[in-house]
């Protein structure tokens, strides 16, 4: 299922993609992000707490309705394995003046998640694919959109 390679599937499993959620505010959304990372065995409660702390210092809002919550440098010791979680909030969450409809929560101590974030960065430079990521109700489509592509030499 999905189109991720086995290595990538370990970092982003279908069970960590949660679509059609609702959050009362940013804090609630961040707590939900931490809870999914804990639930899939990627991190401990202490890491989930650090996600709140990290957001206080500098917002993780990236653009195109997407934020990438993660812990602080000091909280990396509370990560058990590299994982991403995708939480979609179709009604939007106020994120310091921006509307966020998608959170990609990150737990990683090294580079296992880099290729997925690189493909996220590419999706966010393409308005149509970014909109699909925010709006789809198909978990497989999320995995396909975020699947790392082979290096391409454009522009």
């Amino acid at each position: 299922m999905g189109s991720l390679s086995p290595d990538t599937q370990q970092v982003l499993g279908a069970d960590a993609v949660r679509l059609g959620l609702a959050a009362t505010d940013r804090l609630d959304a961040l707590r939900q992000c931490g809870a999914v990372l804990v639930e899939v065995g990627a991190a401990t409660e202490a890491y989930a707490e650090a996600i709140l702390e990290r957001e206080e210092s500098v917002s993780t809002y990236m653009g195109e309705g997407v934020a990438i919550p993660h812990g602080t440098d000091a909280s990396r010791e509370h990560i058990k394995r590299a994982a991403l979680a995708v939480l979609q909030f179709p009604d939007g969450v106020d994120w310091g003046g921006h509307q966020v409809q998608l959170c990609i929560a990150i737990a990683s101590r090294s580079d296992e998640h880099i290729s997925l974030l690189q493909s996220l960065a590419m999706v966010l430079t393409d308005k149509q694919r970014a909109a699909r990521l925010r709006e789809t109700n198909d978990i497989d489509e999320v995995l396909t959109l975020l699947a790392p592509q082979a290096e391409e030499d454009d522009d």
Binding site: R54, S57, G63, I68, H70, T72, D73, S75, L117
Partner: protein, 102 residues
């Protein structure tokens, strides 16, 4: 004040607090743009910036920390992770040989 000519830049460091999120996103878009000028773009936590790094891009909120860790580096702060004018400024300096200063 540290300064460097864009034409001499071979490596740009993107720093964030943990080096696992925002710096990765910025590095992947910027490396695509700078590849054709033979400039490497790497990401790392702000506390791990090597002292001899010539150019560091980081969020404005981390600029003071970056300056204390790499006092000789030109620190270019940005506010937005995507589409900030700072990225175009660095790209233009590298492309046309302009001066970058802290």
């Amino acid at each position: 004040m540290p300064s460097v000519n864009g034409a001499d830049v071979r490596k740009v460091v993107i720093a964030c607090d943990a080096g696992m999120g925002s710096s990765v996103m910025v590095a992947s878009t910027l490396s695509k743009k700078l590849k054709k000028y033979d400039v490497a773009v790497v990401h790392m936590p702000v506390n791990e910036i090597p002292a001899d790094t010539p150019v560091v891009l980081c969020h404005a909120g981390l600029a003071d920390r970056a300056r204390s860790i790499a006092p000789g580096a030109v620190i270019v702060p940005f506010q937005m992770f995507m589409g900030d004018p700072a990225f175009a400024k660095v790209e233009n300096a590298i492309k046309g040989g302009g001066v970058l200063e802290s």
